[in-house]
């Protein structure tokens, strides 16, 4: 089974992307495989609304466990399975909470072991004021540098529904010429068509 990791900084919308993308792909009920620290995997069943209510949060680092969703994708006549992995967001510096640090360390290992990485960036959170410097935040830049070289990789520019997003997207696109950048809005399920195409080419 192919695996796909969804990663990025905290609060860019990883979990909401995973849930809404699962819905877009035709999942009626969410079977969330949650890896517990002890080593076994628990399966939590949610309806989609319930999942949104319980899992998506405005706080930073709401997701601490590694959550898997199995997607079934029809490709031609056969049906392929894809594991969509939702992980803890990576933030810069030293996080005060040890639990979160552990979760981030798990994400690092996942980045190493997964072949296909979807990197979500908050499009409203890029630096614009300095001309020649990097417009990405340091952690985003690190993920990009590593994953674009070693893995199959795409950037999803999330929160495209907000007002100044268009401008920032142009900036980003100019900045990263040789990398796939897909504009999405995971809240309104926009741009998922392109993501689906990208995922289909992989499975």
């Amino acid at each position: 089974m192919k695996k796909c990791l969804v990663t990025g900084m905290p609060n860019v919308g990883k979990t909401s992307f995973v849930i809404n993308f699962a819905e877009y792909m035709g999942v009626k009920e969410l079977k969330l495989h949650v890896k517990q620290v002890a080593g076994y995997t628990a399966i939590n069943n949610y309806s989609l609304d319930e999942a949104r209510r319980k899992l998506i949060s405005v706080k930073d680092n709401a997701t601490k466990e590694v959550q898997l969703i199995k997607l079934e994708i029809a490709k031609g006549k056969s049906i392929k399975e894809l594991q969509l992995i939702d992980s803890c967001g990576l933030s810069d510096g030293i996080h005060p909470d040890e639990e979160v640090r552990l979760a981030m360390a798990r994400t690092l290992k996942l980045i190493r072991d997964t072949e296909f990485i979807l990197h979500i960036i908050d499009i409203n959170n890029i630096k614009k004021d300095k001309k020649d410097r990097d417009i990405l935040l340091p952690v985003d830049r690190l993920i990009l540098d590593y994953a674009s070289l070693e893995k199959r990789y795409a950037i999803l520019a999330n929160k495209m529904d907000l007002s100044c997003a268009e401008l920032n997207f142009k900036l980003l696109k100019n900045h990263l010429r040789d990398i796939i950048v897909i504009p999405i809005s995971s809240l309104y399920k926009e741009g998922f068509k392109e993501v689906k195409k990208m995922v289909l080419s992989y499975v």
Binding site: L90, S91, D92, G93, I94, H95, P96, E98, R101, L102, M104, A105, L108, K109, I111, R112, P138, V139, R141, L142, I143, D145, Y146, S148, L149, E150
Partner: protein, 349 residues
């Protein structure tokens, strides 16, 4: 460096979860990927040091900001040079000194003249010219020099063919260098010919110019250590006139490896795991054989040759990925069999 990869990765994860290292560092080390990413640790160091000075200055804040950013960039450039800690320290001292003098002048306090003529002693490839160039830029930026060009000269540029010609020739060159840095490489050759040589005339002209253009010109004399010491002994006034005498020591092997890594980074290449160890071996072998030539220039030649080898190897492949284009392997360093481009160690490791 020689840890097993997995082991060191676990170690990094552990350190990170204990909260000892920040995310960016953990990420870099975990993926062994710090070569291409620009380290920003030198940034703002200058700010901190100079803050006590800044307190006095209220006016022209914005212009200062801009100037300081430029200066910061230059200092960063200087810091990115590997080794040479002593030189860097001296330069920082003088920057602070000149700034204080400028401030004192503003409050109409007495100032002491700053004489910046220097002597660089060291083997070839130890960074003398590079340093001189950066010094020119830095002192131009803080307003000590105007123009800031570096003019490189050697004996042939200074010494003339007949009596009276030398003084004119030297003077012309000195005038051209006004407001900048005059870098005289292998300066000891000026004293080589004995009493009747025209080189002496040239030295006398230079010494006079040093007094006349005290604060308009930086003269740097450079050369091998022993020869320079001899040169200074021939003219007793000389040594006392050059307040700053800096030794450029030979690079250690660690520093040479760092230099090599930096050169690859500048060219956007990365050494892979095996070649990283192998380059150590090559450089230490070169160093063992020929101390004088085992410096930065040799490293550059090695780097450039390996890049050519890399291209030769890559072009034969059918599918060339981005990864292939970036990573230098051990074979690239060894060079092709039968390639007699003076390979230091063709034996297998």
């Amino acid at each position: 460096m020689y840890h097993k990869k997995r082991f060191s990765q676990d170690y990094i994860i552990e350190k990170f979860t204990m909260g000892k290292i920040p995310m960016t560092e953990a990420f870099n080390k975990f993926f062994n990927y710090h070569e291409l990413n620009i380290e920003e640790r030198n940034e703002n160091r200058y700010f901190r040091e100079e803050r006590s000075l800044e307190l006095n200055i209220v006016e022209k804040k914005e212009k200062n900001q801009e100037d300081r950013e430029k200066l910061n960039k230059l200092l960063e450039e200087m810091d990115s040079l590997i080794g040479l800690e002593e030189v860097k320290k001296i330069i920082r001292e003088y920057i602070a000194f000149i700034k204080v003098q400028q401030l004192r002048e503003r409050y109409q306090l007495k100032t002491s003249p700053v004489v910046m003529h220097m002597i660089f002693k060291g083997n070839p490839g130890t960074g003398k010219t590079t340093m001189a160039r950066i010094i020119g830029k830095i002192f131009n930026e803080i307003g000590y020099l105007q123009g800031g060009e570096l003019i490189e000269a050697e004996r042939a540029d200074l010494v003339g063919e007949y009596i009276g010609h030398t003084a004119q020739k030297t003077k012309k060159l000195l005038e051209r260098a006004l407001g900048g840095v005059l870098f005289i490489d292998e300066a000891y050759s000026l004293a080589r010919g004995g009493e009747k040589d025209f080189g002496k005339e040239s030295i006398d002209t230079i010494v006079k110019a040093m007094e006349d253009y005290k604060d308009k010109l930086i003269i740097i004399l450079a050369g091998y250590r022993d020869e320079m010491n001899f040169f200074l002994r021939t003219n007793p006034g000389l040594a006392s006139r050059f307040a700053i005498q800096i030794d450029f020591p030979d690079y250690t092997i660690d520093e040479l490896v760092q230099i090599a890594n930096l050169m690859y980074k500048e060219r956007e290449y990365i050494l892979d795991e095996k070649s990283k160890h192998y380059i150590y071996r090559i450089l230490s072998e070169i160093r063992y054989k020929e101390i004088i030539n085992g410096n930065a220039r040799t490293v550059r030649n090695l780097v450039e040759r390996s890049i050519r080898q890399h291209a030769r190897r890559i072009i034969k492949q059918k599918n060339i990925s981005k990864k292939d284009l970036i990573y230098i392997t051990k074979e690239d360093l060894i060079g092709e069999e039968g390639n007699n481009e003076k390979m230091p160690c063709n034996r297998d490791a």
